[in-house]
């Protein structure tokens, strides 16, 4: 279907026989949008690779070495549609409770609210800076994000704004296929939530880097992350939940998510990592972008990273009138010597 004016329009998940994913085109751009019911970023990129392969083949371009791309027509392995959460579930103590996180105080846009902004940096540049600090690219970027959030928080504080919530927390999806032996194409990711507690005072950038680095080392440990898996799945196994009618379950879980879950984090950063295509396909594909899940009214902003052909693309989804988070982040990267280029992505009513 032709691309609509803005990306990531909602799926009609409550209506029967409505598609849960869409393939849209605009000029030379192919996009695939999935609802999270079907799959996560890891599954989506595999589908996109298969789609690109099929598209190029249909246009007459013969790909001799498709690599590990799942080709149409190949027998479907059971592993591809297994539920990884159920398969690797084990009853464990639940993870520690989290207090509510601070949220960005900005006004929301008028509907349609979503604005997408994409920037590009050199992978080598950001990798060099990250290595100087002995952290990964994700840890470095998350730290810069924390620094931006802290600046906004502290600026509000100096203006006399009182907010009882004083913990900044960023939600980071972790691809569980790298932790467990699974080849599922369904959802198999969990979220870790490193935090900065500004009740302890303002953090320097170095302090944030150290804190984020060590927190991620601990909470992405397979034993710790299994607690989150156990907590999520054991809720499904409760008898009262299983016998509850579906329409009540949908209302209750949606309400609880809105009231409780999204109050636990301030922002979101997802890093899909390095995407590679077979040589013949790579020549035909200029760039790969990842637009994160549009944020809700509480979180308001999210960010996705993906690297391809030596370029790291950073895409922000923002439903507020302010771009201060992006400004602080890109200013920091620029001051660190990383060349940041804001792209004209022609996504209306985006920038």
């Amino acid at each position: 279907m032709a691309e609509e004016e803005i990306p990531c329009t909602a799926f009609a998940v409550n209506r029967k026989n409505e598609p849960l994913y869409r393939v849209i085109i605009s000029g030379k751009r192919i996009s695939v949008e999935f609802t999270h019911i079907l799959t996560d970023g890891g599954g989506a990129i595999e589908y996109l690779k298969s789609l690109l392969f099929t598209y190029l083949t249909l246009t007459g371009i013969h790909i001799t070495s498709p690599g590990d791309i799942i080709l149409p027509g190949t027998p479907v392995s059971e592993e591809e549609y297994e539920d990884g959460y159920i398969k690797f579930f084990q009853k464990l103590p639940p993870p520690p409770k989290l207090i509510k996180a601070w949220h960005l105080p900005f006004m929301l846009n008028e509907r349609p609210r979503l604005r997408v902004l994409t920037a590009e940096v050199g992978v080598d540049e950001i990798l060099e800076i990250s290595r100087k600090h002995n952290v990964s690219v994700t840890e470095y970027f998350v730290s810069v994000y924390f620094l931006a959030l802290q600046k906004i928080f502290m600026t509000g504080k100096t203006k006399g704004k009182k907010d009882k919530r004083k913990v900044l927390r960023i939600e980071i999806p972790v691809n569980m296929r790298k932790k467990f032996p699974s080849r599922t194409m369904r959802n198999f990711s969990l979220f870790v939530l490193p935090e900065i507690d500004v009740r302890l005072g303002a953090y320097t950038f170095e302090e944030i880097l150290r804190s984020v680095h060590h927190q991620l080392q601990i909470i992405t440990d397979i034993k710790q992350i299994s607690r989150f898996l156990s907590s999520n799945v054991s809720y499904e196994k409760k008898l009262i939940i299983r016998v509850m009618p579906l329409f009540i379950k949908k209302m209750v879980t949606a309400a609880i998510y809105r009231k409780l879950a999204s109050k636990r984090w301030t922002g979101m950063v997802t890093n899909l990592g390095q995407v590679t295509l077979p040589g013949e396909m790579e020549k035909m594909v200029d760039y790969i972008d990842l637009i994160p899940t549009p944020p809700n009214n509480k979180v308001k902003s999210g960010c996705a990273l993906v690297s391809y052909k030596g370029r790291l693309r950073i895409t922000f989804c923002n439903i507020t009138k302010s771009h201060e988070v992006e400004q602080y982040i890109f200013r920091h990267l620029s001051d660190a010597g990383i060349h940041v280029r804001i792209l004209n992505n022609n996504l209306k009513p985006g920038i």
């Binding site: 509000g156 809720y235 009138k321 302010s322 771009h323 201060e324």
Partner: protein, 232 residues
């Protein structure tokens, strides 16, 4: 490739203004550093102004109601009869709202002032209706006990760490205590004797429910928090 000096980023071809700061990158006039800028898109009335507007609006509505009731009574009843009761009721509601909006920082003072406002209203109603018949024997003790019981519940709500079924159980016990106090007051007013009947039935009926809730909350640790129950 144009550089936005304000944000320190390069802009792609086709971008005439910087998407971050909204400025023309080729116009270097009036550029400022990001740091020190308060998020400029927050538009909110200060809480004091909000309270003031609400107070003024409620005052207009209350005053209009008093005027309407008084005029109607004068025109139809040839004198002030029933409108006195409605005027007193409207006035006390507005006074309570005023106290809440402007004295809310100190809950104890707020509670005492609201109690006095309600007692004053009841006293006036009693004076107009019956010439001081039921205020001291009934109105005063029942109102004071209601405020004390409500205040105790509020203190308990703030003091308790885990809020759940224990609060509902406490509200049930408070209700049964209030029923007993009310029956004692009414019995003394009517007969001069205390003979507890219906309030005991209420207490006996609902206290086991309260005990069950306490059991669930403290012993079984269930129903403490919704997020705990749903593993969020």
């Amino acid at each position: 490739m144009i550089l936005c000096h304000n944000c320190g980023v390069e802009l792609d071809e086709g971008l005439k203004i910087c998407p971050l700061c909204g400025r023309d990158p080729e116009n270097k006039m009036g550029q400022e550093q990001i740091s020190g800028n308060y998020p400029s898109d927050i538009i909110q009335l200060r809480k004091k102004e909000n309270r003031r507007y609400l107070w003024e609006l409620s005052g207009i509505i209350a005053f209009s109601g008093i005027i309407v009731c008084t005029l109607l009574d004068l025109l139809t009843g040839k004198g002030l009869n029933w409108s006195l009761f409605s005027d007193i009721s409207i006035s006390v509601v507005w006074v309570i709202l005023t106290l809440y909006l402007f004295a809310f920082k100190n809950p104890l003072i707020l509670g005492i002032l609201q109690l006095l406002a309600v007692l004053a209203a009841l006293f006036l109603i009693d004076l107009i209706a019956t010439g001081r018949d039921w205020f001291f024997p009934v109105g005063l003790p029942v109102t004071v006990s209601a405020f004390i019981i409500s205040g105790t519940l509020i203190i308990l709500y703030r003091a308790v760490r885990l809020k759940g079924l224990n609060l509902i159980a406490s509200a049930i016990i408070a209700l049964s205590v209030f029923c007993i106090v009310t029956e004692i007051v009414f019995d003394k007013y009517r007969n001069g004797l205390t003979d507890l009947q219906w309030s005991l039935i209420v207490a006996v009926s609902i206290l086991p429910v309260a005990l069950l809730f306490y059991f669930f909350h403290y012993r079984l640790k269930k129903g403490n928090r919704l997020d705990s129950f749903f593993h969020i």
